[in-house]
Chain length 312, copies 4
């Protein structure tokens, strides 16, 4: 499908269900896509951080895109992450995911290597030049250890290099500069500013964001769609209540990390997958290696969060 | 060839010469291999940070290993980096580089994703289980934003998971803990502790390191071999003088970064490649995208460093 | 005066005007206090980061508190920073500022030394035990390199140790956890959650904050009071427009830092003071040593921001 | 006494013994000074990080300097830390410690506030202009979150601003640049480059350092003097053995931190003080607030390290 300009609404970063042997569980992925589409989301983002893109082999990545694209069948735009270290490797990922049918690609700043604003600009320009579909920038300093400056993003938007931004910077003031700039600069049109936060969707929309890409929307897509609709309707009081319900639900991400036995990624992705299994969407909560699995007791505590949020 | 236990001596992280079109320049790479082997180095490390591994596509990476292995023809061990984000992707790299003939693989902690000591241990254990050749850990927090704890490295050595460590942590005290532990612990044998520093080779060897992996050895391999031999002979005074000559030469890495026009990687790798071109070893000093190239004036300043070090 | 529970509204962190010889300019400070009080602010915070507390001697600090307290004369609460490294030194500051009449003290986590959550809790408990007035926690990781965990803040609020939080963490999601917790936990009453952001006052108030402590309110107190009133009246559209005007004005903080000649503190505090001089409030824009002064051209560019915001 | 140019040898950063009520224990401090002087150290550094300077009130700081200066009585130089955030506050500290008899002052880069190389240079120039005694720079990024660039240090040495450097950067390569520069630059004389490391004294001396300021020298001053003498005599093999014994002893700093109950400072300073009590030098192992005390079991484990090092 044609990528909307701008893309708006709730665009979940789709989890990647795995079998106990850590292969992509295609049947579960199809069910997860249905679960999200049926809840009314406005797009899907595969191969993002919540998708464990960093853990999937190239073969697995391609299978994920093919599966999602086939199931969505053009009803919604499918964005695909092209997570790799530098321009030449990202361009290989672009070829792969667009060959598999992605409607847009989502790329970070270079990582592993040290980088520089001039190199980041060069990186996105070359990706856009080599991509048959629109490019969305992914600002995720917790992963790549570099932030994207608001003015740089806006300049690249004005050049036609970037079609949007997924902001996982944690810096809402910086994101606001992009949102306001994209609205007020005459040389920018159709740019999509999306927050990656689970916890600030109402505030991000209030200050002008186009949509949200919350990992927790895997678990409760209907909640985020409801939140989006309340915000668009200007009912900020009920929006805040819905957001606060989702904030409480999000605390599930800490079930595994509290005793120092595993890292935050193992705990958060393990919790999302346990929740999806408990809700009957996916078959198995395995996360990719070398993540540490949740214990049965930890998975049970995820269930309590679901129950408290009215989801079980 | 059989990987030595322990590997000792000077093991340059081999630069990857590129054509102006950013393809691997095989002829120049062959000349560079000869330049290093002829100078008496004790091993080669391809696909490390100085090799621009983060910038090379999988196809290019494989070509680099094949070329180096073929040219070395068993005279020296060839170690290959398997730089990727997490275990499943690293294992794909292991298959590729060992298929191309590498004698050992060099792997970092997971990156891009947040990680945890338990996950790092799991990562190395799974890599060792899946690798037909020895595994050397690569401690490079500037790239992966996690350090390797000395006790973790030693425990994995004792388990037979790790055959060595390339230490680019910048933390000589932590490296000393590994060196001393590897010498004194009864449950560890044949472990190779290698410093990745250009500037502290004499001191690292004095405290017991087995060897060095200095990027600058591309430019002056004979200097580092001489330094290694002086240290082994116990002639610390002449060793220090040689080391200080190399420290002065190393300042070339700043030629491009002084005015804030590019990042440190562009400047350092650009300087190494300019030096190799000026010394007649490689044909072209291009670095991979999105690095910013040195200006002609900056390349000229590299020549002054070479001249001051007696290399032109 | 009795400290309100909770404190609400706009509480500017008051700049400290200096003479060209870097002594406290008492006359200018009095005019600045009048400028703020006349604009309708709801409290004053002296000896915060925007006050250059880190640069003032103990004698100067005391003079600042005495001057502000005397001029305010009980019309508004005066909070005073007690910025020092650890508990015993902070307690000395508490004695000094409360002796000079402060109605509450504002304390950070320990800094310079490495610290730990257990030590931070102990720190605030001892400060509260030793302070005759309420204690507000100051979360400012950019200065102290430690953040305050939301649950820790809430538990200390429930214990009666903390009367409020000034949040300069840049992490609005974490601040939201404090705001929501303070509202919903039964064991907490009268707690004041204040954002330290200049750029997100509307969103912070929308999610439930009690007030704001924006450095830029020195320059445009009437603007922030207007913004606060619009938010409280539920007129989010006009609030957003007012906030965006203030966001544009805030860009003045970069006038000195753009060419790398000085640090961000020199530039931001220099700009605030230049603006106050241009608006006729203070006599001299000197900042404390070792900050680098703005050039005349940079100060002139501050004037352009004022003009664009309708303040000249 | 006249401050030596350069200062050489072992210069312990003297712990500050406290009573159970957290007052300076003058008797214990006098015994500690004797313990160090009798072991043959070459100078004393009071009010450094190991002295808990960050935790001492101004009154306590002055008492420490007075006590040490009186007891040393000119036999050795006494350096005093002037640890505070910015220039005006540091100058107040300079007045205090030189009034109490310090022979040199030791100052860090500005902290709490963000800073910049131009501001750091200005800071040291103003301190030197205001100090009646020589100024030694203290490079301690773990505390102040800024490093001192080698070229900046050398330029300030050439200007006569800095008489020396205490390097606690953990970056031995950067320290080497200072050491080599101070030896080879014609415009620098009498500059003293001192390592703050406990673990790399032999290597620092081998590359040309003038001396060492190891916190662990409180516990085993004779060991560090012996190590210094072996290095100066060129007996690198026995020096390495002595250094490795001290490295093993240094592991005591982790006794309290292993289970996550306290921070690194509480654990390390608690261990040093427990060791001094166990060796009969000081009366009480209390550390200043808000540090968490060692448990009796943890203090007992300190004794095992002492026994293993032959010190009990």
């Amino acid at each position: 499908m044609t990528f909307p300009a701008p893309l708006t609404g709730v665009v979940p970063p789709v989890c990647t269900p795995l079998t106990p042997e850590r292969e992509v569980d295609v049947d579960s992925l199809v069910r997860l896509v249905d679960h999200l589409v049926d809840a009314g989301v406005h797009g899907l983002f595969v191969l993002g951080s919540s998708s464990e893109a960093a853990y999937l082999t190239d073969r697995q990545r391609r299978l994920v895109v093919e599966t999602a694209v086939a199931r969505v069948a053009g009803r919604l735009p499918v964005l695909a992450g092209v997570i790799d270290m530098t321009t030449p490797r990202v361009l290989d990922q672009v070829r792969s995911v667009t060959g598999a049918g992605a409607d847009a690609v989502v790329a970070t700043a270079p990582f592993y290597t040290t980088t520089h604003p001039a190199e980041i600009a060069r990186h996105f320009r070359l990706i856009a030049a080599g991509s048959p579909v629109p490019v969305v920038a992914y600002d995720i300093p917790v992963a790549v250890h570099t932030g994207l400056d608001a003015d740089l993003v806006l300049d690249l938007a004005a050049e036609g290099v970037l079609a949007g931004l997924k902001d996982s910077s944690g810096d809402l003031a910086g994101f606001r500069a992009v949102v306001t700039g994209a609205r007020t600069r005459q040389d920018i049109t159709g740019f999509s500013a999306l927050t990656g936060s689970e916890l600030l969707v109402d505030t991000a929309l209030a200050l002008g964001a186009d949509g949200a890409v919350p990992g927790l929307a895997n678990v409760d897509p209907a909640g985020y769609v409801r939140l989006y609709d309340l915000c668009r309707a200007g009912d900020m009081e009920r929006a805040r209540a819905e957001q606060e319900r989702l904030c409480a639900l999000f605390r599930m991400v800490g079930v595994g990390a509290s005793d120092g036995r595993m890292g935050g990624s193992s705990s958060a992705l393990g919790a999302f997958k346990a929740a999806l299994r408990l809700r009957g969407v996916i078959a198995c909560e395995a996360t990719a290696e070398p993540q540490v699995p949740l214990s049965p007791g930890e998975a049970e505590r995820v269930g309590k969060y679901l129950a408290a949020a009215g989801l079980l």
